[in-house]
Structure formats: C-alpha cells, structure tokens
C-alpha cells in the first residue's frame, strides 16, 4: 500500500514540479479560447432557453482541459520513464501491476482535477454559472478524467516514441474533443456527424459536466452517465491488462 501511495505522490510531484507547463499552460489556452470564441461567437444560439454562450462555453472549456491533461499526464509519464529507463524501478518494486496501474491513473485524474479547478477559477469571470449539481460535476469530472487517463496509459504503454504519442493526440484526442460539443450544441449536427457525435464518449462527459452548471443538457444525463461509466471500465480494463502482461514494458 505504501509503494502505491508513494508512486501517486511521486507522479503528483512530477507534474507539480513543472506547474508552469502543466497547470498555467492549460489555463492560458482556455483563456485564449474564451477570448476568441467567447467574444466572437457570443451571439450564437445555444438552443437552450436562458443559457448564454459564455455559460455554455465555460464548462466545456474546463472539461476540455481536464480531459487533455489527464491524457497528457499518464501518457507522457509512461513514455518518459520508458525513454529514461526509470520505469524499471517501478517494475522491480514490490507493487502489484494493479497498484502500479491505479497509481498512474489516480495521479492523472488528480492533474485533471487541479487543471480543471485552475481553469475554472481563471475563466469563470467571463460569465460562468455557479455550480448547481455537484454530483454531476464530480461524477463526470472523475469518470471523464479516468477515461482519458486510461487512454493515456494505453498509448504510453504501446508507443515507443514521442511522435507516436503526438500522432494519437492530433488524430484521435483533439478531433474527439472538438466534436464533443465544447463550442456548440451537438444537436446542431445532422446525418453522419450527428451519429458520430452520439457515439463519442467525450460528448456525454462534456454534456453531463455542463449540466452540473446550467441544468440543461443536449442528451439524457442518466444515459450519458451509464455510457461514460461503461466506457471508463472498458478502457481501464484494457489498460490494466496491458500493464499486467507487461506489453511493450517487459521484455
């Protein structure tokens, strides 16, 4: 148990020791998004009665940074430790693969939460609603971050180089997040795009998280909660199996 806690502590230390990059960086991006989209698209209809674009956008921007940073933490930590060889200290330590996996996962969720709080505090002044449903906020925050943290672990385990990680970020993570309804109501899509959006787990995460602030959602929040829960279990089940078998980690 102590080894497990130590690994979480060390991972948190790792990203906090470069907080300018890991916490201020996402805040700066969110401020830019808020400035560009929040100002320029302020007149766009949210299709939600009584909800302004800023009230709609801010929770989406917060969740976007949570998802990206939880992914970034676990993936870069694993790849970096493979690159420097220091992963063997974790593999040789008296910790079970389940504890190793859980420690990396929890540390990535913690980074997601810290970044989420920092971003919300930084951009709430542009017209955010105060939190109204804490259960929805915490549920989608934690399970949402656990999905991208788990994806980050899988990618970190499977990739050998940083450019492979960059490729996954550019071609999978960013499109999924941009099409998750951060900047617009996904109802505005039609046809194939509508279907693609409805299969995108990030859409339910953003939608449910936003519900916690504005009490409006694009889709059924309960359905979204179940979808996200199942997806989180699936992703982390795969991630844990890879860790246990030592794929691309053990020889």
């Amino acid at each position: 148990m102590q080894g497990f806690l130590q690994l979480i502590k060390k991972e948190v230390y790792r990203f906090m020791s470069i907080w300018g990059q890991t916490v201020l960086g996402p805040l700066s991006s969110a401020l830019l998004y808020q400035f560009i989209f929040g100002k320029q698209l302020a007149s766009i209809s949210t299709d939600m009665p009584g909800v302004t674009y800023a009230e709609f956008l801010i929770p989406g921007l917060v969740m976007m940074q949570v998802l990206l940073n939880a992914f970034s933490n676990s993936s870069s930590s694993i790849i970096q430790s493979k690159y420097t060889g220091s992963i063997i200290y974790v593999l040789m330590a008296p910790i079970t693969p389940f504890s190793i996996y859980s420690a990396y996962l929890i540390a990535a969720i913690i980074r997601g939460l810290i970044v989420g709080i920092a971003v919300f505090l930084g951009i709430m002044w542009f017209g955010a609603n105060v939190p109204k449903c804490w259960i929805a906020i915490l549920y989608f925050l934690i399970f949402g971050a656990s999905i991208t943290a788990g994806l980050g672990l899988i990618v970190g385990i499977l990739c050998d180089k940083f450019d492979q990680l960059g490729g996954f970020q550019s071609f999978v993570m960013v499109p999924l997040i941009y099409l998750s309804g951060v900047f617009f109501n996904p109802h505005n899509f039609s046809g194939m795009w509508q279907l693609a959006t409805r299969l995108n787990p990030f859409m339910y995460i953003v939608d449910g998280f936003r519900y916690g602030f504005i009490q409006h959602s694009s889709y059924n929040v309960e359905f979204g909660a179940i979808f996200v829960f199942i997806f989180a279990l699936l992703i982390n089940g795969v991630g844990y199996l890879l860790m246990k078998k030592g794929i691309k980690i053990k020889h």
């Binding site: 060390k10 040789m92 079970t96």
Partner: protein, 298 residues
C-alpha cells in the same frame, strides 16, 4: 531455504532462445559470480529474476516465487540493472527517498546518507540526476538497489564506467555487505574482482550453464591448464628448440607453456647461452580469465 532458486528457466525472444533450461541454487550468504560473454544470457536471467522479463519456469527469491508472490519476492531483492536508468525529475536524495517509499521503508535517513557517502555522491546529494556523469548515475543505481537493505543483491556490471579509485571503494562496500550477511550475485567484466570476492562461480554461454562450482573446485578442475612463462625481449631471434612451447606471440612478448621448475631453469639457461637479453619475465598461474576462456572454448 535458498536465497535464490532458478528452476528450468527458459526465455525466448521470438525464435531466439536466450535462456535454455537454466537451473541453479544459491545459498544464503554466498557471493556468486555469474560469468559469460556478451549475449550469453546473463542480463536476460537477471531481468527475469527482477520481474522485468516474462519467462517460462520458476524463480524463487528468499523462498518466494517471483510470479505468485511478487510483493514478498521483490521486497527481498535489490537489483542494479545494466542499462543506465534515472528519473530526470528527481535529485539524488529524492530518487533514494522515492525508492525507499516504493519499498515501504520509512525513517531511513541515516542509512541513505551512509549509502550516499559510500557511493561518493555526498557533494551531488541535491543535484538533479540528469546532471550526473555516467559513472555517478551508475553509483546512484547501486545506492537505489540498497535503500531497503535487501537480503539478496544482484549487481549487473555495477562498475562499468566507474573510476578505478571509486571502483575499489565500491567493491570494499559490497564486500562489507556480504560480510554482514547479504547474498550477492554479481556479473562484471573485471574478472580479477570476481576472483577476489566470489566464493562460487557460475558460467553461462549461449543461454546454458556450462559450469557452476565453488572457486576452489573450479581452479582444481582446471589444474590441467598450464602455468605460463611470459617473457619480453627485443632480440629478433628466438631459440628453435623452444618454439614448440610458445602458446602466444605478441610483438616482442612471448607466452611459453611451463610444466615444472626444472623446465624453467632449462629455458632460462638456453636464453643465456644464446645471448638473448630478457627484459621482462613473469610466471603466471592460470587465472580465472584463463579458466573462463577454457570453458567457453571447450
């Protein structure tokens, strides 16, 4: 109970078999040298013991199976891996504290400072690990393997790239750990150190054990290996009657097979009679290196 038990261990990389049915046991308190040429399978074996390799067969550390009793077996083991590995986010002291935490060890500041001092890293204690030289990183890796005072210590070429002076001091520290009851398995290219420190030697070649014996038995087993006479002379000519005794010729140096003391006198007399000036003479008993080469080429 053995400190280390290796039973029918096989390790394959695709179609290549790196370890082919390896079996040996090490008693608690032994200091064992594991010898083999590059690619013989030493590191594959050590990685399997350390839990960073998948393998077939059974390995037990301090009686604990490394697969089914992973936590207890790893708690009993400290490994210095061959490849340089460091965490670029930590200082020397932080790396050791973190390592202690992974093994569930608390309040070991005194021991950490002692290890740091013995590894000659005191002046680097607050330096980031990425700023250390290769030799310093290697010494830090030795320190990391010792934070939890494991009963079984495995050192995979721990002195590669380490200065001569510090190497001596490191060997002294390892010998002291052995005296205080730790079991040690060592691989190194410095065979004279193995000869000096180890009481048992295991030789491995092409994934198979080719010899395992106490150092004394090994030397006795190789008693047929000749004592040699090394001579150095600038005289171009060499005595024809001694040609058949030459084992090796390297420029002005000759290594002759020496069977007994009378033969030694006879050889020297022949040189004197021929007027050949000898600049250097050395009588050499078979070293561990000779024995190792003998086994590899057998």
């Amino acid at each position: 109970m053995y400190a280390l038990e290796i039973n029918h261990v096989v390790k394959r990389y695709g179609s290549f078999t790196a370890l082919n049915d390896i079996n040996f046991k090490i008693e608690a308190g032994e200091f064992v040298g594991l010898l083999g040429v590059n690619g013989a399978g030493k590191t594959s074996l050590i990685s399997s013991i350390a839990g960073i390799n998948n393998f077939e067969g059974e390995i037990k550390v301090a009686g604990y199976n490394v697969i089914s009793e992973v936590v207890k077996s790893k708690q009993s083991l400290g490994v210095v891996p061959q490849e340089l590995a460091f965490d670029p986010f930590l200082t020397v002291y932080q790396a050791l504290k973190f390592q202690s935490g992974l093994y569930g060890v608390k309040n070991n500041k005194e021991w950490l400072f002692e290890v740091i001092e013995r590894m000659h890293l005191t002046d680097k204690i607050n330096s980031n690990t990425r700023t250390l030289s290769g030799g310093m990183k290697r010494r830090l890796m030795v320190a990391q393997a010792l934070v939890h005072k494991p009963p079984v210590i495995i050192l995979d070429e721990p002195t590669t790239g380490v200065d001569v002076e510090i190497r001596q001091s490191l060997w002294g520290f390892i010998a002291q750990l052995h005296k205080s009851g730790h079991t040690i398995l060592l691989t190194t290219h410095y065979l004279e150190e193995v000869e000096k420190l180890c009481n048992k030697i295991i030789m491995i070649d092409k994934g198979k054990i080719i010899s395992q014996s106490t150092k004394e038995n090994l030397i006795a087993e190789c008693s047929t290996l000749p004592t040699t006479l090394e001579i150095e002379t600038q005289d171009a000519k060499f005595i024809d009657s001694l040609e058949h005794l030459i084992l090796k010729k390297d420029g002005s140096s000759f290594t002759l097979k020496l069977e007994n003391n009378e033969q030694l006198l006879d050889i020297l007399n022949q040189f004197r009679d021929a007027g050949i000036i000898l600049e250097n003479i050395n009588i050499k008993k078979p070293s561990l290196e000779d024995i190792f080469i003998h086994f590899i080429h057998r």
